[in-house]
Symmetry: C2
Subunit: 263 residues, 2 copies
Amino acid sequence: VKLLTLARDLQRRKAREKQGQFVAEGVRTVESLLASPLTVQGLLVTAAAREEARVLRLCEGAAGRGIAVHEVTRAEFDSAADTDAPQGVLAIADIPTAPLPAPGRSGGRYLVLDALQDPGNVGTVVRTAAALGVTATVSLPGTVDCWNAKVVRSAMGALFTHPVVALDWEALRAVFAAHDVACWAADMEGSPLDALDRHLLPPHLALIVSNEGAGLSPHLEAAVAGRVAIPMAPGTESLNVAVAAGILLYALRPATSGAEPVA
Amino acid sequence: VKLLTLARDLQRRKAREKQGQFVAEGVRTVESLLASPLTVQGLLVTAAAREEARVLRLCEGAAGRGIAVHEVTRAEFDSAADTDAPQGVLAIADIPTAPLPAPGRSGGRYLVLDALQDPGNVGTVVRTAAALGVTATVSLPGTVDCWNAKVVRSAMGALFTHPVVALDWEALRAVFAAHDVACWAADMEGSPLDALDRHLLPPHLALIVSNEGAGLSPHLEAAVAGRVAIPMAPGTESLNVAVAAGILLYALRPATSGAEPVA
Protein backbone atom coordinates (compact mmCIF):
# COMPACT_ATOMS: atom_id res chain seq x y z
CA VAL A 1 0.00 0.00 0.00
CA LYS A 2 3.04 2.27 0.34
CA LEU A 3 3.23 2.58 -3.46
CA LEU A 4 -0.44 3.61 -3.53
CA THR A 5 0.13 6.34 -0.93
CA LEU A 6 3.15 7.54 -2.87
CA ALA A 7 1.24 7.60 -6.18
CA ARG A 8 -1.54 9.66 -4.60
CA ASP A 9 0.99 12.03 -3.07
CA LEU A 10 2.73 12.52 -6.43
CA GLN A 11 -0.42 14.14 -7.84
CA ARG A 12 0.93 17.31 -6.17
CA ARG A 13 3.82 19.19 -7.79
CA LYS A 14 5.48 19.86 -4.43
CA ALA A 15 5.50 16.14 -3.64
CA ARG A 16 7.02 15.35 -7.06
CA GLU A 17 9.74 17.93 -6.47
CA LYS A 18 10.43 16.67 -2.94
CA GLN A 19 10.44 12.96 -3.85
CA GLY A 20 12.05 13.40 -7.27
CA GLN A 21 9.46 10.99 -8.65
CA PHE A 22 6.45 11.07 -10.97
CA VAL A 23 3.53 8.90 -12.08
CA ALA A 24 2.98 7.60 -15.62
CA GLU A 25 -0.49 6.26 -16.43
CA GLY A 26 -1.87 3.98 -19.10
CA VAL A 27 -0.71 0.85 -20.88
CA ARG A 28 1.19 2.46 -23.71
CA THR A 29 2.86 5.09 -21.53
CA VAL A 30 3.98 2.49 -18.96
CA GLU A 31 5.32 0.31 -21.78
CA SER A 32 7.37 3.26 -23.10
CA LEU A 33 8.59 4.00 -19.59
CA LEU A 34 9.76 0.42 -19.02
CA ALA A 35 11.57 0.50 -22.38
CA SER A 36 13.35 3.76 -21.44
CA PRO A 37 16.50 4.30 -19.36
CA LEU A 38 14.51 5.79 -16.44
CA THR A 39 14.47 4.05 -13.04
CA VAL A 40 11.01 2.63 -12.32
CA GLN A 41 10.12 2.23 -8.63
CA GLY A 42 6.92 0.23 -8.96
CA LEU A 43 3.63 -0.44 -10.71
CA LEU A 44 0.04 -0.31 -9.51
CA VAL A 45 -2.45 -2.46 -11.37
CA THR A 46 -6.09 -3.49 -10.92
CA ALA A 47 -7.15 -7.12 -11.12
CA ALA A 48 -9.34 -6.31 -14.14
CA ALA A 49 -6.50 -4.65 -16.03
CA ARG A 50 -4.15 -7.56 -15.34
CA GLU A 51 -6.54 -9.85 -17.18
CA GLU A 52 -5.57 -8.17 -20.45
CA ALA A 53 -2.66 -9.96 -22.12
CA ARG A 54 -0.80 -6.73 -22.84
CA VAL A 55 -0.99 -5.54 -19.22
CA LEU A 56 -0.05 -8.99 -17.91
CA ARG A 57 3.04 -9.03 -20.14
CA LEU A 58 3.97 -5.59 -18.93
CA CYS A 59 3.59 -6.61 -15.25
CA GLU A 60 5.56 -9.82 -15.75
CA GLY A 61 8.32 -7.94 -17.52
CA ALA A 62 8.54 -5.44 -14.68
CA ALA A 63 8.48 -8.12 -11.97
CA GLY A 64 11.20 -10.03 -13.83
CA ARG A 65 13.42 -6.96 -13.48
CA GLY A 66 12.76 -6.77 -9.73
CA ILE A 67 10.25 -3.91 -9.99
CA ALA A 68 7.45 -4.04 -7.39
CA VAL A 69 4.00 -4.69 -8.89
CA HIS A 70 1.12 -4.09 -6.46
CA GLU A 71 -2.46 -5.02 -7.13
CA VAL A 72 -5.00 -2.48 -5.90
CA THR A 73 -8.78 -2.19 -6.03
CA ARG A 74 -10.51 -0.08 -8.65
CA ALA A 75 -11.39 2.55 -6.02
CA GLU A 76 -7.79 2.69 -4.78
CA PHE A 77 -6.51 2.98 -8.34
CA ASP A 78 -8.95 5.77 -9.17
CA SER A 79 -7.80 7.70 -6.09
CA ALA A 80 -4.27 7.83 -7.50
CA ALA A 81 -5.12 8.23 -11.21
CA ASP A 82 -5.40 11.53 -13.03
CA THR A 83 -7.53 10.35 -15.98
CA ASP A 84 -11.31 10.12 -16.00
CA ALA A 85 -11.28 6.63 -17.46
CA PRO A 86 -8.04 5.11 -16.15
CA GLN A 87 -6.74 1.96 -17.84
CA GLY A 88 -5.87 0.33 -14.51
CA VAL A 89 -2.10 0.47 -14.73
CA LEU A 90 0.34 3.15 -13.61
CA ALA A 91 4.02 3.33 -12.75
CA ILE A 92 6.10 5.44 -10.38
CA ALA A 93 9.53 6.41 -11.68
CA ASP A 94 12.41 8.73 -10.83
CA ILE A 95 12.52 12.13 -12.51
CA PRO A 96 15.80 12.28 -14.45
CA THR A 97 18.37 14.61 -12.88
CA ALA A 98 20.96 14.87 -15.66
CA PRO A 99 22.10 18.44 -16.39
CA LEU A 100 21.25 20.16 -19.66
CA PRO A 101 23.20 18.38 -22.42
CA ALA A 102 25.78 20.45 -24.32
CA PRO A 103 25.23 20.95 -28.06
CA GLY A 104 26.59 18.22 -30.30
CA ARG A 105 29.24 18.86 -32.93
CA SER A 106 26.73 18.81 -35.78
CA GLY A 107 24.83 21.74 -34.24
CA GLY A 108 22.67 22.01 -31.13
CA ARG A 109 19.00 22.95 -31.06
CA TYR A 110 17.14 23.74 -27.83
CA LEU A 111 13.50 24.45 -27.19
CA VAL A 112 12.74 26.77 -24.25
CA LEU A 113 9.24 26.91 -22.75
CA ASP A 114 8.37 30.34 -21.37
CA ALA A 115 5.32 30.24 -19.09
CA LEU A 116 3.39 27.60 -21.06
CA GLN A 117 0.45 26.63 -18.90
CA ASP A 118 -1.65 24.10 -20.77
CA PRO A 119 -0.42 20.58 -19.89
CA GLY A 120 -1.75 19.02 -23.11
CA ASN A 121 0.09 21.60 -25.21
CA VAL A 122 3.32 21.16 -23.22
CA GLY A 123 3.19 17.40 -23.69
CA THR A 124 2.66 17.79 -27.44
CA VAL A 125 5.48 20.34 -27.60
CA VAL A 126 7.88 17.92 -25.88
CA ARG A 127 6.79 15.10 -28.21
CA THR A 128 7.46 17.41 -31.17
CA ALA A 129 10.92 18.43 -29.92
CA ALA A 130 11.85 14.79 -29.39
CA ALA A 131 10.67 13.71 -32.85
CA LEU A 132 12.52 16.57 -34.55
CA GLY A 133 15.82 15.65 -32.89
CA VAL A 134 16.12 18.69 -30.63
CA THR A 135 19.05 18.40 -28.17
CA ALA A 136 16.93 19.22 -25.10
CA THR A 137 13.87 21.11 -23.90
CA VAL A 138 14.10 23.61 -21.03
CA SER A 139 11.10 24.65 -18.94
CA LEU A 140 11.42 28.10 -17.40
CA PRO A 141 9.57 29.12 -14.21
CA GLY A 142 5.88 29.79 -14.86
CA THR A 143 5.61 26.74 -17.10
CA VAL A 144 3.43 23.84 -15.95
CA ASP A 145 5.46 21.05 -14.29
CA CYS A 146 6.55 18.69 -17.07
CA TRP A 147 6.08 15.69 -14.73
CA ASN A 148 2.41 16.49 -14.22
CA ALA A 149 0.39 13.38 -15.18
CA LYS A 150 -1.36 15.13 -18.07
CA VAL A 151 1.91 16.38 -19.57
CA VAL A 152 3.40 12.89 -19.22
CA ARG A 153 0.38 11.40 -20.99
CA SER A 154 0.28 13.83 -23.88
CA ALA A 155 4.05 13.61 -24.41
CA MET A 156 3.43 9.95 -25.37
CA GLY A 157 6.74 8.64 -24.03
CA ALA A 158 8.88 11.52 -25.30
CA LEU A 159 9.71 12.64 -21.73
CA PHE A 160 11.37 9.29 -21.03
CA THR A 161 14.06 9.68 -23.70
CA HIS A 162 14.22 13.36 -24.68
CA PRO A 163 16.03 15.51 -22.06
CA VAL A 164 13.67 17.99 -20.39
CA VAL A 165 15.29 20.21 -17.75
CA ALA A 166 13.69 22.82 -15.47
CA LEU A 167 16.00 25.83 -15.08
CA ASP A 168 15.63 29.48 -14.23
CA TRP A 169 16.61 32.04 -16.79
CA GLU A 170 19.87 33.09 -15.10
CA ALA A 171 21.10 29.51 -14.95
CA LEU A 172 20.03 28.84 -18.53
CA ARG A 173 21.69 32.01 -19.80
CA ALA A 174 24.96 30.92 -18.16
CA VAL A 175 24.83 27.49 -19.85
CA PHE A 176 23.98 29.03 -23.23
CA ALA A 177 26.80 31.59 -22.87
CA ALA A 178 29.29 28.84 -22.01
CA HIS A 179 28.35 26.85 -25.12
CA ASP A 180 27.77 29.77 -27.48
CA VAL A 181 24.07 29.01 -27.99
CA ALA A 182 22.14 31.87 -29.61
CA CYS A 183 18.72 32.50 -28.14
CA TRP A 184 15.81 33.39 -30.46
CA ALA A 185 12.16 33.91 -29.65
CA ALA A 186 9.09 32.93 -31.64
CA ASP A 187 7.31 36.28 -31.95
CA MET A 188 4.62 37.45 -34.37
CA GLU A 189 6.53 40.72 -34.74
CA GLY A 190 9.79 38.95 -35.62
CA SER A 191 11.60 38.46 -38.94
CA PRO A 192 9.63 36.27 -41.33
CA LEU A 193 10.82 32.68 -41.13
CA ASP A 194 10.85 32.21 -44.89
CA ALA A 195 13.23 35.13 -45.38
CA LEU A 196 15.92 33.36 -43.33
CA ASP A 197 18.68 31.38 -45.01
CA ARG A 198 18.94 28.15 -43.06
CA HIS A 199 22.58 27.77 -43.98
CA LEU A 200 23.44 31.05 -42.25
CA LEU A 201 21.89 30.12 -38.90
CA PRO A 202 24.01 30.12 -35.73
CA PRO A 203 25.45 26.61 -35.25
CA HIS A 204 23.83 26.35 -31.81
CA LEU A 205 20.38 27.82 -31.48
CA ALA A 206 17.67 27.92 -28.82
CA LEU A 207 14.07 28.78 -29.65
CA ILE A 208 11.87 30.29 -26.93
CA VAL A 209 8.13 29.72 -27.27
CA SER A 210 5.65 31.54 -25.05
CA ASN A 211 2.07 31.37 -23.95
CA GLU A 212 -0.09 32.14 -27.01
CA GLY A 213 -2.03 34.86 -25.26
CA ALA A 214 0.62 36.47 -23.08
CA GLY A 215 3.62 36.63 -25.44
CA LEU A 216 7.27 36.65 -24.40
CA SER A 217 7.89 37.26 -20.67
CA PRO A 218 9.17 40.82 -20.12
CA HIS A 219 12.53 39.77 -18.59
CA LEU A 220 13.30 37.75 -21.75
CA GLU A 221 12.53 40.63 -24.12
CA ALA A 222 15.95 42.23 -23.79
CA ALA A 223 17.81 38.95 -23.58
CA VAL A 224 16.97 37.37 -26.92
CA ALA A 225 19.31 37.79 -29.88
CA GLY A 226 16.62 37.37 -32.53
CA ARG A 227 12.90 37.06 -33.15
CA VAL A 228 11.31 34.95 -35.81
CA ALA A 229 7.72 34.84 -37.07
CA ILE A 230 5.85 32.23 -39.10
CA PRO A 231 4.23 34.09 -42.03
CA MET A 232 0.47 33.85 -41.67
CA ALA A 233 -2.49 34.50 -43.93
CA PRO A 234 -4.14 37.91 -43.56
CA GLY A 235 -6.90 37.88 -40.94
CA THR A 236 -5.41 34.98 -38.99
CA GLU A 237 -3.56 35.63 -35.79
CA SER A 238 -2.07 32.61 -34.22
CA LEU A 239 -1.14 28.98 -34.39
CA ASN A 240 -1.35 26.42 -31.62
CA VAL A 241 1.97 26.60 -29.75
CA ALA A 242 2.89 22.97 -30.54
CA VAL A 243 2.20 23.54 -34.24
CA ALA A 244 4.25 26.76 -34.21
CA ALA A 245 7.13 25.04 -32.39
CA GLY A 246 7.04 22.19 -34.92
CA ILE A 247 7.19 24.51 -37.94
CA LEU A 248 9.99 26.62 -36.44
CA LEU A 249 12.11 23.71 -35.19
CA TYR A 250 11.80 21.98 -38.54
CA ALA A 251 12.57 25.11 -40.57
CA LEU A 252 15.49 26.08 -38.27
CA ARG A 253 17.02 22.59 -38.08
CA PRO A 254 20.80 22.34 -38.36
CA ALA A 255 22.17 22.12 -41.88
CA THR A 256 23.61 18.70 -41.03
CA SER A 257 21.33 16.98 -38.57
CA GLY A 258 21.57 13.28 -37.82
CA ALA A 259 17.82 12.99 -38.22
CA GLU A 260 17.82 13.88 -41.88
CA PRO A 261 19.44 13.12 -45.20
CA VAL A 262 20.83 16.36 -46.60
CA ALA A 263 19.07 17.48 -49.78
CA VAL B 1 -37.72 28.64 -26.88
CA LYS B 2 -37.57 27.46 -30.48
CA LEU B 3 -33.89 28.46 -30.68
CA LEU B 4 -33.20 26.43 -27.54
CA THR B 5 -34.84 23.33 -29.01
CA LEU B 6 -32.88 23.82 -32.21
CA ALA B 7 -29.56 24.26 -30.34
CA ARG B 8 -30.18 21.03 -28.41
CA ASP B 9 -31.09 19.22 -31.60
CA LEU B 10 -27.91 20.41 -33.34
CA GLN B 11 -25.78 18.45 -30.87
CA ARG B 12 -26.47 15.49 -33.20
CA ARG B 13 -24.62 15.23 -36.50
CA LYS B 14 -27.73 14.07 -38.34
CA ALA B 15 -29.63 17.15 -37.19
CA ARG B 16 -26.78 19.43 -38.30
CA GLU B 17 -26.77 17.77 -41.71
CA LYS B 18 -30.55 17.98 -42.03
CA GLN B 19 -30.87 21.58 -40.84
CA GLY B 20 -27.63 22.80 -42.42
CA GLN B 21 -26.86 24.60 -39.17
CA PHE B 22 -24.39 24.34 -36.29
CA VAL B 23 -23.77 25.74 -32.81
CA ALA B 24 -20.80 27.89 -31.79
CA GLU B 25 -20.15 28.28 -28.05
CA GLY B 26 -18.22 30.75 -25.96
CA VAL B 27 -17.65 34.50 -26.02
CA ARG B 28 -14.63 34.58 -28.27
CA THR B 29 -16.01 32.04 -30.74
CA VAL B 30 -19.35 33.85 -31.03
CA GLU B 31 -17.48 37.14 -31.53
CA SER B 32 -15.49 35.57 -34.39
CA LEU B 33 -18.67 34.14 -35.86
CA LEU B 34 -20.44 37.52 -35.83
CA ALA B 35 -17.39 39.10 -37.49
CA SER B 36 -17.41 36.45 -40.24
CA PRO B 37 -19.47 36.26 -43.45
CA LEU B 38 -21.58 33.35 -42.10
CA THR B 39 -25.34 33.79 -41.58
CA VAL B 40 -26.18 33.75 -37.86
CA GLN B 41 -29.72 32.63 -36.98
CA GLY B 42 -29.77 33.50 -33.30
CA LEU B 43 -28.03 33.67 -29.93
CA LEU B 44 -28.83 32.04 -26.60
CA VAL B 45 -27.52 33.80 -23.51
CA THR B 46 -27.97 33.44 -19.75
CA ALA B 47 -28.83 36.43 -17.56
CA ALA B 48 -25.53 36.01 -15.69
CA ALA B 49 -23.47 36.03 -18.88
CA ARG B 50 -25.26 39.12 -20.17
CA GLU B 51 -24.03 41.03 -17.12
CA GLU B 52 -20.50 40.90 -18.52
CA ALA B 53 -19.74 43.94 -20.65
CA ARG B 54 -18.19 41.88 -23.45
CA VAL B 55 -21.22 39.57 -23.72
CA LEU B 56 -23.62 42.50 -23.52
CA ARG B 57 -21.79 44.24 -26.39
CA LEU B 58 -21.95 41.07 -28.41
CA CYS B 59 -25.71 40.65 -27.80
CA GLU B 60 -26.42 44.28 -28.62
CA GLY B 61 -24.38 44.06 -31.81
CA ALA B 62 -26.31 40.96 -32.88
CA ALA B 63 -29.71 42.46 -32.02
CA GLY B 64 -28.78 45.60 -33.95
CA ARG B 65 -28.35 43.44 -37.03
CA GLY B 66 -31.75 41.85 -36.55
CA ILE B 67 -30.39 38.58 -35.11
CA ALA B 68 -32.65 36.99 -32.48
CA VAL B 69 -31.13 36.97 -28.96
CA HIS B 70 -32.99 34.76 -26.48
CA GLU B 71 -32.35 34.69 -22.77
CA VAL B 72 -32.48 31.22 -21.22
CA THR B 73 -31.96 29.84 -17.72
CA ARG B 74 -28.65 28.27 -16.71
CA ALA B 75 -30.22 24.80 -16.78
CA GLU B 76 -31.65 25.38 -20.24
CA PHE B 77 -28.32 26.69 -21.49
CA ASP B 78 -26.45 23.72 -20.05
CA SER B 79 -28.84 21.34 -21.82
CA ALA B 80 -27.76 22.78 -25.18
CA ALA B 81 -24.06 23.35 -24.42
CA ASP B 82 -21.26 20.93 -25.17
CA THR B 83 -18.66 22.29 -22.73
CA ASP B 84 -18.38 21.33 -19.06
CA ALA B 85 -18.14 24.94 -17.94
CA PRO B 86 -20.12 26.88 -20.56
CA GLN B 87 -19.66 30.64 -20.73
CA GLY B 88 -23.38 31.28 -21.09
CA VAL B 89 -23.45 32.39 -24.71
CA LEU B 90 -23.88 30.38 -27.91
CA ALA B 91 -24.94 31.09 -31.47
CA ILE B 92 -26.69 29.08 -34.17
CA ALA B 93 -25.44 29.69 -37.70
CA ASP B 94 -25.77 28.25 -41.20
CA ILE B 95 -23.14 25.79 -42.36
CA PRO B 96 -21.53 27.32 -45.47
CA THR B 97 -22.50 25.53 -48.67
CA ALA B 98 -20.03 27.01 -51.16
CA PRO B 99 -18.32 24.43 -53.38
CA LEU B 100 -14.61 23.68 -53.07
CA PRO B 101 -12.74 26.79 -54.28
CA ALA B 102 -10.51 26.37 -57.34
CA PRO B 103 -6.77 26.96 -56.91
CA GLY B 104 -5.65 30.56 -57.27
CA ARG B 105 -3.19 31.69 -59.93
CA SER B 106 -0.31 31.88 -57.46
CA GLY B 107 -0.65 28.15 -56.65
CA GLY B 108 -3.32 26.23 -54.77
CA ARG B 109 -2.79 24.21 -51.62
CA TYR B 110 -5.41 21.87 -50.16
CA LEU B 111 -5.48 19.88 -46.96
CA VAL B 112 -7.45 16.62 -47.04
CA LEU B 113 -8.53 14.93 -43.80
CA ASP B 114 -8.67 11.14 -44.11
CA ALA B 115 -10.60 9.54 -41.23
CA LEU B 116 -9.38 11.93 -38.53
CA GLN B 117 -11.47 11.19 -35.47
CA ASP B 118 -10.31 13.41 -32.64
CA PRO B 119 -12.36 16.64 -32.68
CA GLY B 120 -9.67 18.66 -30.86
CA ASN B 121 -7.06 17.61 -33.40
CA VAL B 122 -9.35 18.36 -36.34
CA GLY B 123 -10.08 21.84 -34.98
CA THR B 124 -6.36 22.54 -34.55
CA VAL B 125 -5.65 21.19 -38.04
CA VAL B 126 -8.26 23.55 -39.56
CA ARG B 127 -6.84 26.48 -37.57
CA THR B 128 -3.37 25.59 -38.90
CA ALA B 129 -4.54 25.35 -42.51
CA ALA B 130 -6.28 28.73 -42.22
CA ALA B 131 -3.22 30.44 -40.70
CA LEU B 132 -0.90 29.02 -43.35
CA GLY B 133 -3.05 30.33 -46.18
CA VAL B 134 -4.25 26.97 -47.51
CA THR B 135 -6.93 27.35 -50.23
CA ALA B 136 -9.39 24.95 -48.56
CA THR B 137 -9.67 21.91 -46.29
CA VAL B 138 -11.61 18.82 -47.36
CA SER B 139 -13.00 16.28 -44.91
CA LEU B 140 -13.40 12.79 -46.36
CA PRO B 141 -15.94 10.27 -45.01
CA GLY B 142 -14.78 8.72 -41.72
CA THR B 143 -13.60 12.10 -40.43
CA VAL B 144 -15.41 13.63 -37.45
CA ASP B 145 -18.02 16.20 -38.51
CA CYS B 146 -16.23 19.56 -38.73
CA TRP B 147 -19.35 21.32 -37.37
CA ASN B 148 -19.26 19.31 -34.15
CA ALA B 149 -19.14 21.78 -31.21
CA LYS B 150 -15.70 20.62 -30.06
CA VAL B 151 -14.18 21.01 -33.54
CA VAL B 152 -15.75 24.47 -33.82
CA ARG B 153 -14.28 25.45 -30.44
CA SER B 154 -10.76 24.19 -31.07
CA ALA B 155 -10.67 25.72 -34.57
CA MET B 156 -10.87 29.11 -32.78
CA GLY B 157 -12.83 30.86 -35.51
CA ALA B 158 -10.91 29.38 -38.45
CA LEU B 159 -14.01 27.47 -39.64
CA PHE B 160 -15.86 30.76 -40.16
CA THR B 161 -13.45 32.12 -42.77
CA HIS B 162 -11.39 29.19 -44.09
CA PRO B 163 -13.37 27.00 -46.55
CA VAL B 164 -13.96 23.49 -45.17
CA VAL B 165 -15.88 21.15 -47.45
CA ALA B 166 -17.07 17.58 -46.84
CA LEU B 167 -16.72 15.49 -50.01
CA ASP B 168 -16.33 11.84 -50.84
CA TRP B 169 -13.19 10.68 -52.57
CA GLU B 170 -14.74 10.21 -56.01
CA ALA B 171 -16.13 13.76 -56.03
CA LEU B 172 -12.85 15.18 -54.73
CA ARG B 173 -10.83 13.28 -57.30
CA ALA B 174 -12.99 14.74 -60.08
CA VAL B 175 -12.46 18.31 -58.82
CA PHE B 176 -8.72 17.77 -58.43
CA ALA B 177 -8.49 16.27 -61.94
CA ALA B 178 -10.38 19.21 -63.43
CA HIS B 179 -7.99 21.71 -61.83
CA ASP B 180 -4.79 19.71 -62.18
CA VAL B 181 -4.22 19.39 -58.42
CA ALA B 182 -1.61 16.76 -57.50
CA CYS B 183 -2.52 14.64 -54.48
CA TRP B 184 0.21 13.69 -51.99
CA ALA B 185 -0.07 11.84 -48.71
CA ALA B 186 1.78 12.40 -45.45
CA ASP B 187 3.30 8.96 -44.85
CA MET B 188 6.18 7.86 -42.65
CA GLU B 189 7.40 5.66 -45.51
CA GLY B 190 7.38 8.54 -48.00
CA SER B 191 10.19 10.62 -49.49
CA PRO B 192 11.94 12.75 -46.88
CA LEU B 193 10.51 16.25 -46.87
CA ASP B 194 13.92 17.91 -46.66
CA ALA B 195 15.10 16.21 -49.84
CA LEU B 196 12.37 17.97 -51.85
CA ASP B 197 13.08 21.16 -53.76
CA ARG B 198 10.19 23.48 -52.97
CA HIS B 199 10.62 25.26 -56.29
CA LEU B 200 9.96 22.04 -58.20
CA LEU B 201 6.64 21.28 -56.51
CA PRO B 202 3.44 20.92 -58.58
CA PRO B 203 1.75 24.33 -58.80
CA HIS B 204 -1.43 22.93 -57.26
CA LEU B 205 -0.96 20.43 -54.48
CA ALA B 206 -3.23 18.63 -52.00
CA LEU B 207 -1.85 17.00 -48.86
CA ILE B 208 -3.76 14.09 -47.32
CA VAL B 209 -3.27 13.54 -43.58
CA SER B 210 -4.57 10.42 -41.85
CA ASN B 211 -5.35 9.11 -38.44
CA GLU B 212 -2.01 8.75 -36.58
CA GLY B 213 -2.66 5.15 -35.65
CA ALA B 214 -4.43 3.82 -38.73
CA GLY B 215 -2.43 5.37 -41.57
CA LEU B 216 -3.73 6.15 -45.05
CA SER B 217 -7.11 4.59 -45.90
CA PRO B 218 -6.63 1.62 -48.28
CA HIS B 219 -8.70 3.11 -51.14
CA LEU B 220 -6.42 6.17 -51.17
CA GLU B 221 -3.22 4.14 -51.32
CA ALA B 222 -3.32 3.67 -55.08
CA ALA B 223 -4.72 7.12 -55.80
CA VAL B 224 -1.98 9.36 -54.43
CA ALA B 225 0.72 10.68 -56.72
CA GLY B 226 3.34 11.06 -54.00
CA ARG B 227 4.15 10.38 -50.37
CA VAL B 228 6.15 12.64 -48.14
CA ALA B 229 7.63 12.03 -44.68
CA ILE B 230 8.89 14.43 -42.04
CA PRO B 231 12.37 13.22 -41.06
CA MET B 232 12.31 12.14 -37.43
CA ALA B 233 14.92 11.38 -34.81
CA PRO B 234 15.78 7.68 -34.36
CA GLY B 235 13.55 6.01 -31.78
CA THR B 236 10.66 8.42 -32.28
CA GLU B 237 7.66 7.39 -34.28
CA SER B 238 5.10 10.04 -34.75
CA LEU B 239 4.04 13.63 -34.45
CA ASN B 240 0.65 14.94 -33.49
CA VAL B 241 -1.38 15.22 -36.71
CA ALA B 242 -1.83 18.99 -36.40
CA VAL B 243 1.91 19.47 -35.84
CA ALA B 244 2.70 17.23 -38.83
CA ALA B 245 0.18 19.08 -41.02
CA GLY B 246 1.71 22.41 -39.96
CA ILE B 247 5.26 21.36 -40.81
CA LEU B 248 4.25 19.87 -44.17
CA LEU B 249 1.97 22.72 -45.25
CA TYR B 250 4.64 25.26 -44.34
CA ALA B 251 7.44 23.38 -46.05
CA LEU B 252 5.34 22.68 -49.17
CA ARG B 253 3.93 26.21 -49.49
CA PRO B 254 3.78 27.71 -52.97
CA ALA B 255 6.90 29.51 -54.11
CA THR B 256 4.88 32.72 -54.36
CA SER B 257 2.17 32.73 -51.74
CA GLY B 258 0.21 35.83 -50.81
CA ALA B 259 0.77 35.04 -47.16
CA GLU B 260 4.51 35.48 -47.31
CA PRO B 261 7.21 37.80 -48.50
CA VAL B 262 9.47 35.89 -50.87
CA ALA B 263 12.99 35.41 -49.52
